[in-house]
Symmetry: C2
Subunit: 575 residues, 2 copies
């Protein structure tokens, strides 16, 4: 038995549980949800921290070892949002054509392996990432993307691994639907024709996978898995600000693939700088067959429009909306909203931004609560989270980019002239990292006349309380934002079942995943692998969904060969 098949057998129980979870879409994960539940947690966390620190350079940059082809130099200028100091890591920079050539050469043997063998290798990648690198990745995500330790562990660690497994499940399902062999017999006039048919799964070719700055692994791992499981090679293009998590990932993929006897150049990394981006070159490279893109709406739409003849799978961003019509427990609703608005300083593609409230106020069991009061209480709830540094550190974490701080300042000033500043942004002092780049949320209250202000994703801790005519107007405005500007998530509070039903239909059509009347400890925008579909593909927030059959089914093609069965063969097979 091949190593790959051996790994498949070893991971089969976990894979089968994942298959069931993807059908039933209930809550399941093979991984501990919190860092404290990780086996030998203190030791593992210390080892992960040490592994991360070993990557760091001092005055002189330290070279990250990655033995991929075509290396022409080094690149790397990452700065930790926690220390605001350079990480000092120099990554090998390869010639793009050399990467494509090597990837192209690696595909043949890989595509001739069985689906189970490919899944076996990739399930082993998941296992190695989890077992040997999770806290190293956690630190790497913290000090590039700027996430909190807990989010980096959960959201960028185990939950991202879950999404990776999920992609393997769907890749397996789509490929399993193709029978490898068939015998076909038919009468043509007086003669019987018997054909043996063979169906091969043929990969598209070389995939390019763009990872984003703020949440690199969560989208990139499933995309890589979807392409690799269907026989393709992948060139990973990390955001220049967030290379380390992907560099560690790429190295693990390469090591595991090589250990199984396949060509490690199935997975390589292409780098660029903010000043000299290579994104368009990669997308339009003649050997690019698939593009997975996570990042800005603008570049995502360019990718969708210009990737041809490559396939494009995009997940960008949008105006995630809230409609606050009525609530049984308004305070609980506002607390949940506040927490979700603060989570990683709203640098998530699922963070709510536009909060629509009827001018007449919000209905509660104690009567109508005026819009202004709702806005004030929401701002207070948000302020409370930013006031306690330890809580702020856990929830808000840091700001990934200076540009985001600049945007907050700009919108604060513009908002003050065109509406009301409900909450002034300020830096908070991180208890462990006093130099951390931080910012408590900016909240503005405006009318629907200021749509140009909120009618786009304003990346970072920026939100708008928007006065609407009434509940119907609120829903209409919110779903129009989604359809026009894109939207991944949506949040509704209402005690009116008719209104909820209308909202469900309207948001389903607009294509935002809706959460209704949720309060309590779960972040409203938490997306569970195996259960929550991420992005619908129905609006400008992206054309692909994590993960459904459409995410994998076109990454491979089916070639067939058929030939007559000789009488002798037909007999021997029948016997």
């Amino acid at each position: 038995m091949s190593i790959a098949q051996d790994w498949f057998e070893q991971h089969r129980p976990r894979f089968q549980q994942a298959q069931v979870a993807c059908v039933e879409r209930n809550c399941w994960s093979p991984f501990p949800e919190t860092p404290g539940q990780y086996p030998d947690a203190p030791q593992a966390q210390a080892a992960g921290l040490a592994a991360f620190q070993a990557h760091l350079g001092g005055e002189q940059a330290r070279r990250f070892a990655l033995d991929q082809p075509g290396i022409t130099g080094v690149l790397g200028a990452e700065v930790s949002p926690y220390t605001c100091k350079p990480l000092g890591i120099a990554y090998p920079h390869s010639d793009v054509d050399a990467l494509f050539d090597a990837a192209g050469n690696a595909i043949d043997r890989w595509s001739q392996a069985t689906v189970q063998e490919r899944i076996g290798v990739l399930m082993e990648v998941v296992e190695v990432l989890f077992r040997d690198h999770l806290f190293e990745l956690t630190q790497a995500v913290m000090h590039t993307a700027g996430q909190s330790f807990n989010m980096a562990y959960a959201g960028s660690g185990v939950n991202a691994l879950d999404r990776a497994i999920e992609a393997l499940v769907f890749a397996h399902q789509a490929q399993r639907a193709v029978t490898p062999h068939a015998r076909w017999e038919r009468q043509f006039g007086p003669s019987q024709i018997t054909l043996d048919k063979t169906y091969r799964l043929v990969p598209r070719g070389v995939a390019v996978c763009f990872a984003c700055a703020s949440f690199p692994t969560w989208n990139a791992w499933p995309s890589m898995m979807a392409s690799l499981a269907t026989g393709n090679a992948v060139i990973v293009k990390p955001h220049p600000a967030t290379i380390l998590p992907m560099a560690i990932s790429v190295r693990v993929f390469r090591e595991v693939i090589a250990a199984a006897g396949f060509d490690p150049n199935l997975v390589t990394m292409a780098l660029d700088t903010v000043e000299q981006p290579i994104g368009k070159v990669l997308v339009q490279h003649p050997k690019t067959a698939i593009v997975d893109f996570t990042g800005s709406v603008a570049f995502g739409q360019w990718v969708e429009r210009n990737a041809y003849p490559a396939l494009a799978f995009t997940e960008t961003a949008g105006c995630n909306t809230v409609v606050l019509e009525s609530a049984d427990d308004l305070d609980a609703a506002l607390r949940s909203l506040a927490t979700t608005m603060c989570m990683f300083s709203a640098q998530m593609c699922t963070s709510p931004q536009n909060i629509y409230i009827p001018a007449g106020g919000v209905r509660t069991p104690g009567g109508l609560v005026a819009l202004d009061e709702v806005g004030r209480r929401l701002a207070e709830a948000v302020a409370a989270l930013g006031a306690a540094p330890k809580k702020a550190a856990m929830i808000l974490a840091t700001i990934q980019s200076d540009q985001t701080l600049a945007l907050v300042r700009q919108l604060r000033d513009e908002g003050a002239t065109r509406g009301t500043v409900l909450l002034e942004p300020r830096a908070y002092v991180h208890p462990d990292f006093p130099d951390a780049r931080t910012c408590t949320p900016l909240m503005l209250q405006v009318g629907t006349g200021e749509r140009d202000l909120y009618g786009a994703e304003r990346f970072g801790p920026i939100s708008f309380v928007i006065r609407c005519d009434d509940a119907a107007d609120a829903l209409g405005q919110a779903t129009r934002d989604v359809a026009q500007f894109g939207g991944l998530t949506a949040f509704l509070y209402s005690t009116d079942e008719d209104f909820i039903a209308r909202a469900e239909t309207a948001y389903a059509r607009a294509g935002a995943q809706l959460t209704v009347n949720l309060t309590g400890a779960m972040p409203l925008n938490f997306a569970a692998a195996y259960s929550d579909y991420h992005v619908t593909g129905l609006n400008p927030a992206g054309n692909a969904s994590l993960t459904n059959l459409a995410f994998v089914a076109s990454r491979f093609c089916i070639s067939q060969s058929r030939r007559p069965v000789r009488a002798a063969q037909a007999t021997s097979t029948a016997s």
Copy 2:
């Protein structure tokens, strides 16, 4: 029970058999293979002929009744390739925006029906087309596309209905993979969160389906089924030369859909003329969500490049290749090739065109047969088929377009100066239709230096015997044609198992469906629904395959809604 669900129950046995056939890919069809096996064949054929004749106008065009929205006038200038006389049918011509608006309005209720209901309605469409219109369609295809009676019955009739059912099977499979409801429970810190989740299938919107002039139903029916089964509406755009088969189809779809209580504007027809085409307007209409295109490579590639944000599924054409390396029975191989080259005067996207033969000749049990002799014997076999008018009528049938005759003449003259004319084209006299537009095949023998002559699809009865260095060169040239110019089918004769294995790998990569060493009564390019995948999507001959999961999976999206389960609900559900 709804009418639609009732129909599903009624057609369930047939549908389940089709599901099994799509997995096992063996030979199956619910329909009789030949016109003579049709129930009450003589009467049914007479009734079909009468129904066709009732469509025809005389001096004054007869209006085709189709009560779709936005009718502004009439169009129609079809000419029968059998009589070379106008059919005299005036079809209603609708304003494009009116069709899109009506289609958009029709989607809502249709998308809210269950998958089984939609499949039920569409299986009933299949049944009505078969039971009430098959011979009417057969005549309509003969007198527009120019196919023979037998091919119009089999290829454009029952086989096309099989492909339609096949598309329904895959649409069902892709949608069935999405569970409609899930309950999800997880601990967040001290609190238990229990969510009920609802997953909706949301169609993309309005699909535009282009049907081609020579084989309208075979591609259009499965495309229409794929879009409709996933909840979309379809606007059909027939080729101006071949409207009647699609007009009859559209009317049947509309009648059956209306009878089930849905809006018939789910299926409408948009018309244009050769002089004023509306193809680009339809593809780039802001409400177009899906484009299915069958036709020329040039427009197909334009569609793929310009359909964004609509999805594009294309099937165009290519250089279908033959490699003749060695044969146990060379005469049998040449007879099969000759028949296939003559079939419908090679006006099929699967017809062979470029025949690669080693300069040293073809190995046979009786020794090497020189290339020139192989060419001569192949030409003789082709000539024999064209010599007997009755046989010619059955196999060659007619030439759909005058342009094809012009191309034959042009290439005959060019070929004579750059190579050898192996077989001179000529008109043959059709025994039943003395005015039929006919042409026996042109065959040219050239060297690989004349690649510009054969390096594109030369639509019609035109083929090239191409002298290659040796077998490896023949395979290399042939698969290069496929990769560069596109190719759907490929044909290999070889007694060398190593060479066959190399050819299988090379053609699989290039993406042509290969038939090896087939001789006898089956046309080499016969593509069986439920068994043969048509088009791989790997080369310029098209990006979509009939039918796999990728053909259907992205035609719908998944929107979800989730909300907490109240304690009381949780209990009552559990009890």
